[in-house]
């Protein structure tokens, strides 16, 4: 059994600074399709990342070999990484970039996931696919649960000692209907958007079965729905689409490592420049965006990032004005700008980089029914199914699963294949109403970095109404 403190003691005098980060993650994946098991797996990943500071450069070595010889070998490699790269380093760092924080964090969960047996989870998922069987036109009915238990433990030679334990459940229900060459799929809020820090209470049988039936009803309804019109009009977005809108057109462009060019060869650069902070009108005065690691159920709530920086709520955009970006201590010193605690890695086998965490749109003052009533002609879109944006995060095109036409302040009919496109700054400046109530979603699969990593992010957002948006159908 690897003892991190003993291991640290044996290594700490051999370098300027040493950090050890162990990540143990167990993922249980269960999928049923058409009342039959489709995928059942339990995956465990357990490894150690060793960080060494040498001549102003951090070198990294990760290993799944947790024997003493494996750890020694990884330490020598980390030292080699730091020494060979320090003369060529893009920036110089010190121990101040790894604060000696101490503390613990644990996901809120009313009921431990251990209280659910394999059979109980399987039965609920199987029943969910059965509940979607409303018609022979339902050609595919699936229910998925991804249950994740993660422990991050980190210690450093300067005194950091942090333990964070996350209990995460992602669920998805999906139904596909087909008739006369038309195929329509409805899922629960778009892919795996239901991604929470939560316990076994998430498997509420009656609620899941009700939601399953609704998904099937809406998939069938879409078969005979009209296509979304091609028109420039008002666009009302539900929180399960705002989840994606905030993620792609606000979260990513504000990442400092993109602004610094680290990410240019992969996901891209950013239209945001360092001089824009404190100046740029990003959106209308109704737009206030926060980095908020304090929302209990949101999937990227935590107490410390991987550098040991304490995570606190910060305003990124306030009343439409850009104030602060998403960068950890390393990027903050490279840019000489304030940032947030977001220097995060996906696991023990990757170095941390600037990531989103919970990036949220603060609530407004409107009621949803008043927002609908204010629209003469517009489309109300729900649940993301397609996303694409350029490498500077300007020109985007997003598609949804389901929409309603709004005419003269009333919802009149269901629309299929709804899409919209725009450019980031113009789009957000067209924001004209924000609801009082918010909902939390997220994604387990935000991809970025070289070598690449996927990380979990959360977004708590209201309903939002935008004007003069180009919408279109199939």
């Amino acid at each position: 059994m690897l003892d991190l403190h003993k291991t640290l003691n044996s290594l700490k005098d051999q370098a300027e600074w040493v950090g050890l980060r162990r990540v143990k993650e167990t993922t249980t994946y269960r999928t049923f399709r058409d009342e039959k098991p489709d995928r059942n797996s339990i995956s465990s990943d357990d490894g150690l990342m060793i960080e060494v500071l040498c001549n102003g450069h951090f070198g990294y070595a990760g290993t799944s070999d947790l024997t003493s010889s494996g750890v020694q070998r990884a330490f020598k490699k980390a030292l080699l990484m730091a020494k060979t790269a320090s003369p060529f380093a893009a920036a110089s760092f010190t121990t101040e970039h790894r604060p000696p924080q101490q503390g613990r964090f644990e996901s809120p969960a009313l009921q431990s996931l251990d209280t659910l047996s394999v059979r109980e989870v399987s039965d609920i998922l199987c029943e969910a696919t059965k509940a979607m069987n409303l018609s022979h036109k339902m050609i595919s009915r699936s229910a998925t649960a991804m249950i994740i238990d993660t422990e991050f433990t980190s210690v450093s030679s300067s005194g950091a000692d942090i333990f964070q334990k996350f209990s995460i459940v992602n669920t998805d229900l999906s139904g596909t209907a087909m008739e006369s060459g038309e195929t329509q799929t409805r899922s629960e809020n778009g892919g795996l958007a239901r991604c929470f820090q939560i316990g076994a209470e998430v498997f509420n049988r009656n609620e899941i079965l009700d939601r399953s039936r609704k998904i099937a009803e809406e998939a069938l309804e879409l078969l005979t729905a009209e296509n979304c019109p091609d028109e420039t009009m008002d666009l009302l977005l539900a929180p399960d689409q705002m989840n994606l809108q905030v993620h792609e057109s606000v979260g990513h462009p504000l990442e400092y490592d993109r602004i610094l060019g680290d990410e240019r060869n992969f996901a891209g650069w950013s239209f945001v420049e360092p001089k824009d902070f404190g100046q740029l009108r990003y959106g209308s005065p109704l737009m206030t965006i926060t980095f908020d690691p304090t929302i209990p159920e949101s999937v990227a709530s935590y107490a410390f990032d991987d550098s040991g920086c304490k995570a606190t709520k910060e305003f990124l955009i306030k009343d439409g004005i850009l104030l602060r970006g998403l960068g950890g201590l390393e990027s903050q010193s490279r840019l000489n700008l304030p940032g947030v605690a977001n220097f995060r890695s996906s696991s023990w086998n990757r170095a941390p980089i600037d990531r989103m965490a919970n990036i949220n749109l603060e609530p407004g003052s409107s009621r949803l029914e008043d927002m609908i009533a204010s629209v003469d002609r517009g489309v109300f879109m729900m649940s993301n199914k397609s996303w694409s944006i350029d490498d500077y995060r300007n020109k985007f095109q997003f598609g949804c699963e389901y929409a309603k036409l709004i005419e003269n302040g009333k919802i009149t009919k269901t629309l299929k294949n709804p899409n919209y496109r725009g450019t980031t700054i113009k789009f957000w400046n067209n924001l004209k109403a924000v609801s009082q109530n918010r909902e939390t979603f997220g994604t387990p699969y935000c991809g970025k970095g070289e070598p690449s990593q996927v990380i979990r992010v959360g977004h708590t957002t209201p309903y939002c109404l935008f004007q003069n948006i180009e919408v279109f159908g199939a």
Binding site: E182, N265, E450, P451, A474
Partner: protein, 445 residues
């Protein structure tokens, strides 16, 4: 012993240990993935981060009485410790099998033969990598990732099957910048040659020099367009996103549904095949089945076959073709045509020369419509002459149009696009692709 030799010993020791413990009625397949990787990330021709990673994971698929359980766990490389871990995970798999329902589409474990293949590479030593890359790139604003080291994929099962594939390879995936103008380069292989890298870099620098003119803003509309092989590679990735999966087709998720149903066709200029003779990856899948060396997927615009995993084959009562469970191409080749390199600009005439595309997604899957962006070295061409680099454009276009009646020509040359994905682990595979000349390619923003 080096990493590959150590892992071979460990894998067989652990596999023997597990397989020897199986009782009557139990069968098992073991799949190993392991890598020892050096990653060096560059920005502005300096090192942003460098990381060494050793990782080894073993998946154990246990079958008993018509039920299937899968567990995945890390190995350390220490045989004694790994045997101990194997005992714990076999025990968990047995518990799972007891509790799970019957798996009606279970593929019975059988002996799919044996193979043993190791490619010894010639890689830079970790001490030499940074200088080898930054020195020839001196004066350039280079960003990118160098990755190198051994990768292992192996499988064994309780019926005697045993496949082993190991290779030592590298890639340098990079971009060069002149302000916001950029070009893309990749240098990959199993034997690093400093002169070849210098030539690759020099070609990219020459291409960047071509960008040294003011960007031209092109209005949305339909244009004649040439997609270079790297741009075709982005488009070809959409064939991996469910389009060629038989299971997806049956579940209503294939973008080629209308092609399969005979409702439409693609261009007779278009032929796709899975071609393992490219040597980019191994032929065995995680069931240990060997795919045919070549499988025609689309020939002259007609669908020949989907990729069919044995699980799908069992579910739908048809024959499988050795596909992996994802039913995406692992070694895709798009066949060449007749358009010669020296004639590309002349045949393009007036339109867009697109070196790369970015961030593609289905915008209307049923109609095989995709949206995405132009990226890197893309030019406006008039009367066969390059006029200026363009400000990036968004396109929204159906494959049934651009690879249907609007596909004018396919180049007579192909380029190998190596797999450079590093999500969670390095990936084997790649593709060999030509360029496409297309009319009326639709740009929307």
């Amino acid at each position: 012993m080096n990493f590959i030799e150590t892992m071979k010993h460990t894998f067989h020791t652990v596999a023997d240990h597990i397989l020897n413990q199986l009782t009557d009625g139990e069968d098992a397949t073991l799949n190993l993935y392991a890598e020892e990787s050096l990653f060096v990330r560059f920005n502005n021709n300096k090192v942003r981060q460098n990381t060494d990673v050793e990782q080894r994971s073993l998946s154990l698929v246990l079958q008993k009485a018509g039920k299937t359980a899968t567990v995945v766990f890390n190995l350390t490389g220490d045989s004694q410790e790994d045997r101990h871990r194997a005992d714990e995970w076999l025990s968990l798999a047995r518990k799972e099998v007891e509790e799970l329902p019957l798996d009606p589409f279970q593929v019975p474990i059988q002996n799919n033969g044996t193979s043993d293949f190791t490619v010894k590479g010639s890689l830079l030593s970790p001490e030499d990598v940074i200088q080898a890359i930054t020195e020839p790139a001196q004066g350039a604003d280079l960003a990118g990732l160098y990755t190198a080291g051994p990768i292992i994929s192996a499988t064994r099962n309780s019926k005697g099957q045993s496949h082993w594939f190991a290779t030592e390879n590298f890639f340098m995936d990079y971009s060069l910048y002149n302000g916001q103008k950029a070009v893309k380069g990749v240098y990959a292989g199993t034997e690093w040659n400093q002169d070849d890298f210098a030539v690759n870099l020099a070609q990219s620098k020459n291409q960047l020099a071509l960008m040294d003119r003011p960007k031209k803003v092109i209005a949305p509309g339909s244009y004649r367009a040439y997609l270079a092989p790297a741009a075709v590679a982005e488009m070809a990735m959409m064939f991996s996103w469910g389009a060629l999966s038989y299971n997806n087709y049956k579940q209503g998720g294939s973008a080629l549904q209308k092609l399969a149903d005979g409702d439409t066709t693609l261009s007779p200029h278009l032929s796709l095949r899975e071609n393992f003779s490219l040597g980019l990856t191994h032929r065995f899948n995680s069931l240990g089945e060997l795919s045919a060396e070549q499988i025609d997927l689309i020939k002259n615009g007609q669908l020949v076959t989907f990729l069919i995993n044995s699980r799908s084959a069992k579910e739908y009562g048809i024959a499988g073709n050795g596909a992996e469970s994802s039913e995406g191409p692992r070694s895709l080749e798009i066949m060449p045509g007749t358009l010669r390199k020296e004639n590309i600009l002349r045949e393009l005439g007036t339109g867009l020369y697109l070196s790369n595309l970015h961030y593609l997604n289905w915008s209307d899957r049923l109609n095989a419509r995709i949206t995405g962006m132009t990226r890197y070295a893309c030019f406006w061409v008039e009367n066969g002459e390059i006029v200026a680099p363009i400000a990036d454009l968004r396109f929204d276009e159906s494959l049934y149009d651009c690879l249907g009646a609007n596909l004018l020509a396919v180049t007579d040359f192909q380029e190998v696009e190596p797999q450079v994905s590093t999500y969670e682990s390095r990936v084997l595979g790649g593709s060999r692709l030509p360029g496409f000349l297309i009319k009326d390619f639709k740009f929307t923003l």
